[in-house]
Symmetry: C2
């Protein structure tokens, strides 16, 4: 016996027929639009329930909205992003909108593919989390669809931004370490050359903030920056380099928790201990940092708040595409843990 023909999905026409009204009426009820009496609404809703009708998003998108928000993440492995995502999904939980994520895109080309795909699929809004795309590309996205960029500085009329104050975050770490008596505080940064990225990318701001803070604490002569990348391997390589210095640093400020993971790995491999031989601090306050046996001092960006703010801005912009673009900056906080300790020498 052949599997019988798939039953056609129930459409707005079926609902209209069943409720003995027009499709227009059903559409009005669905969208809570003006021009439907309470009795009408009740009748239509009953028909919808009885038939188990669900609107086809593609067809809706052809005329109006798809009720879908796209979110891109650069790397699904980075434990910071789930926080942001939580903020986004909880803010959107009791709206009609549905969140869909792009698969982790680790290159500029992949990121472009995903954003294009989202535009093609008629997303009502897009949230780019820590994108690496060029400003021009983000503006193209923003001019096609309401867009909010998380974790990128620099304002554009084409999109809104939400970011933390990375300079302040770096200052918190340096201040904390200096307060513990450290002077030789090194920093591992993500290498960056492109001039606009040097202004906009958080990693560049953190490195700047580190340099400024070292100066302010009179530690300029100990400024020591290793340029690798914001990955575990980058932290590993950077630490190898630092440990080979004639005079070793006593503390390392890793630009991200994921970098700190590499630092801890290299330190363990060298037979040294944290914080005994080296204090280590990260950035992002991921679940990894909070994990007991690791207990990494880190900077909390307030991922949930970032997500919530992004949603707020996005919904505002969906409601009024003409409004001026906004930039939200959040203050980071330091979360001291056991990976940093007073210098005892």
């Amino acid at each position: 016996m052949e599997p019988q023909a798939r039953p056609r999905r129930v459409t707005i026409v079926d609902v209209a027929r069943h409720a003995e009204v027009s499709t227009t009426a059903v559409s009005k009820v669905l969208r809570n639009a003006y021009g439907a009496s309470p009795e009408m609404r009740a009748k239509v809703r009953r028909a919808i329930d009885e038939l188990g009708y669900r609107p086809n998003a593609g067809a809706r998108g052809l005329r109006g909205q798809t009720y879908t928000i796209g979110v891109t993440l650069p790397d699904i492995r980075n434990p910071f992003f789930p926080e942001i995502l939580d903020g986004i999904t909880t803010s959107l939980a009791d709206t009609e909108y549905q969140v869909l994520l792009g698969p982790g895109c680790n290159g500029e080309k992949e990121e472009a593919r995903v954003t294009e795909a989202m535009i093609d699929r008629g997303m009502d809004g897009i949230i780019l989390v820590a994108p690496i795309s060029s400003r021009a590309h983000m503006e193209r996205v923003g001019s096609a669809v309401p867009t909010v960029v998380i974790g990128r500085h620099g304002s554009s009329p084409a999109y809104d931004t939400v970011a933390d104050d990375d300079v302040e975050g770096a200052a918190l770490v340096v201040g904390h370490l200096a307060g513990l008596g450290h002077r030789r505080i090194a920093h591992i940064e993500h290498h960056e050359t492109d001039p606009t990225r040097l202004t906009e990318m958080p990693n560049a701001r953190r490195a700047d903030g580190y340099r400024q803070a070292m100066r302010q604490h009179g530690l300029e002569e100990w400024t020591d920056v290793v340029s690798t990348s914001y990955t575990q391997d980058g932290g590993y390589r950077g630490t190898k380099e630092l440990l080979a210095r004639p005079v070793r640093p006593t503390a390392v400020f890793a630009g991200a928790d994921i970098v700190a993971m590499g630092v801890l790995e290299a330190v363990a491999e060298a037979g040294l201990s944290v914080p005994g031989d080296l204090s280590v601090a990260g950035y992002d306050n991921t679940t990894f940092a909070a994990f007991g046996p690791i207990s990494l001092t880190s900077v909390d960006q307030g991922g949930r708040e970032m997500g919530q703010n992004a949603v707020r801005l996005l919904l505002e912009r969906i409601a009024d595409r003409g409004r001026r673009s906004a930039q939200v900056t959040l203050s980071p906080t330091l979360v001291p843990r056991r990976s940093t300790a007073r210098l005892t020498e």
Copy 2:
């Protein structure tokens, strides 16, 4: 100055006009369909490039496919899932399909919301990763859209499955620990009561495999299962309970790496050491397990292969919806690391 009216997106009609052919012809070229001469194809492709045309997925979906594959994950924080995802995206990289992820859904209701949303959005296929939904719900999804379920046993005509042999995986762990001289090997499982889930869920199979293996190694009298959940907190609570036993186990088999994280946390808190006082093994071989300072013995399920197999099955089923459902089972392998050691007493 008001922002000028958004330029209408270029459509197939624009392309047809620009290439001086019919829209039908353009459509044929887009889909590599029969009935277009090489010259026609060239002409149309040139027009597409010149105009920067991109097909509207929603409109396509109304008649044919949307070229979109939906993937649901139960928890974006679990570091096992990125492996599977990598397998999926690389397998799909040079096809026309685009992957979109549902946001982490930690409950049966959330999972249903996401799967429904994906069906509404006309996904051509859906991959459910480690779903917690009832079998009935999965069959509903499978009968609406080609579906592959990863990490769930039990066959259904409505969908294909890909899973590892959890009984064998548990046996690998027990065999490894027994080989190191351990006898009091405890297991932390995810609590399960629903009868069909007891057959289908990997956690239940692992617990079964543990019991069987203990018996086969003549260690039945030491069988000790603590029932919490597959979360970090579950591991923490389970370990607390185990450490309070009059006679403590010398080894713990955590049903998942995320559970092992909780185990390590509780052990550290109790001032004990791993593997000195307690050997710990996990399951999933996540990046966390591979992390040097942790170095957790774990079972590798071959996440990438799972993802690749799922895509293969899904594409087959999209091509032929009538074909019989298939079940793929992969063999797990043990990855011994420093968290397990020979018993020295």
